[in-house]
Amino acid sequence: MKLVRDTWMVFTRQMTLVLRNPVWLIVGIMQPLYFLLLFGPLLKGALRMSAEDAYRFFVPGLLVQLAMFGTLFVGFGLIAELRAGVIERMRVTPVSRLSLLLGRSLRDIVTLLVQAALLTALSLPFGLSVRLRDLVLAFALLALIALMLSATSYALALKLRSEDALAPLMNAVSMPILLLSGILLPLSGWLKRVGEWNPFTYAVNASRALFAGDPGDANVWKALVIVTVLAVAAAVWAARSFARSVR
């Protein structure tokens, strides 16, 4: 009960900050919009698909990409908060340590889902269609990805405490994960075999299966299990980082 209340307190303050300075919300949605508008039209020809099939292939991957890049870099905001002293101030209060993480990740999930809903809506005129039931499941998967990556980002931010160290690490990790997930083009050959070790490959395949109207696809439950396990592990790690006394 206290955890719920504390998480809500942390979340509402974080949302206030987002709404007072919504520029990052807009920046975050720009990249996938560019992909949708400037890259999407090429797919029809490149993949020899109909427009509907091309977008049904591309948009689910784009949503996973949005979840990745929208949440992997949230640690930068935390470093600014560390520097401002607000984290230390909170850590002296009896507020639950887990809520310091969950409130923030909840904000990241909510902002991501707003962006994802916007991107999905904008894709409909291009011929995308999806059942609401499948869309809800796909968004649940996105939310879990957001929890996993934002918690990871916060844990690393608490460890590194410097933007200069966090930025190159995030780029070094995120690019191969992105390219080996088959988001942009289907994987083949040896890349496909390597990609089978990438949890995001399952997430992308699951997202595609859901948009294709096939929630029974094995990728769906596999992705949900894998991402849930990783999200819980990342959350435990990050919550412990918030609790630990670091100088």
């Binding site: 504390d6 401002a84 607000v86 006394s245």
Partner: protein, 318 residues
Amino acid sequence: MIIETKGLRKTFRSRKGTVEAVRGVDLVVDEGEIFGFLGPNGAGKTTTLRMLATLLTPDGGAATIAGADLRRAPGEVRRRIGYVAQGGCTWDEVSAREELIYQARLYGVDKAEARRRAEHAIGAFQLEAFADRPTKTYSGGQRRRVDIALGVIHQPRVVFLDEPTTGLDPQSRAHMWDEVRRLRDEGMSVFITTHYLDEADALCDRIAIMDHGEIVAEGTSAELKRQIAGDVVTVGLDGTAPKAAALLEGEPYVNRLETLDEGLRLYVDSGATAIPQILRALDGAGIALASIELHRPSLDDVFLAQTGRSLRDSGEGA
């Protein structure tokens, strides 16, 4: 007694080696007093404070704060203390009033009561003129007042203030001293760290002098100065200090002698009788004086006597 520590210690380990930041601190802070931690930067004051505020886990020793055991019940300690860090603690985009309400809510206070407390704090700390503007627009003094108001919004029994006046102009500083005294007069115990001698002297009911992770002296300002019996004579010399030191070292009227950068500091029983003798001795050896000064012992003399260094010389003490 509001705080009692026994053998509190903390060692930091990094790739560059280990630093024994706090090496066995024993202290007692009484209820309703302003207790000051005086020492140069790097003496271990902030580390001790952060341990008492539950932000750092001690490597050894024990502490009881407002009746709660620091190691066994840190959650209980948090409920009973306030802590104001050196570097500020507010979000730029949020106003002081919003921060005060939020802070009270973090301690489990309901919305209406939180609003009432924020209103009260705005009056008590004189924040009316800017309480509804974002904190990024505040001056240093305004910001510090808000920080302290946040630190005591839940009416803790003891509040820790880390260097509360560092970086403030003289007027804001005087204002801050008044705020600290007001908190004490309302019954709160206040634990401050400072590297300002005059602040420790004027503001603190009791002082512990800290150096290299240890407490080297403790007492009221008057008690500490009494340890240095008699008067202090400072002699200004141009490059002849070692020679003069050798000359005066054995004189019976000199209780103690410290060599400074540009002269000597002599501890004597009575300045009135010692000064003529010092002048005669130096004159006889042909040593010219740049200046001579007589003063009552200050806290700096206490620090010097305990550590062999002047607080003014170590770091940015003033």
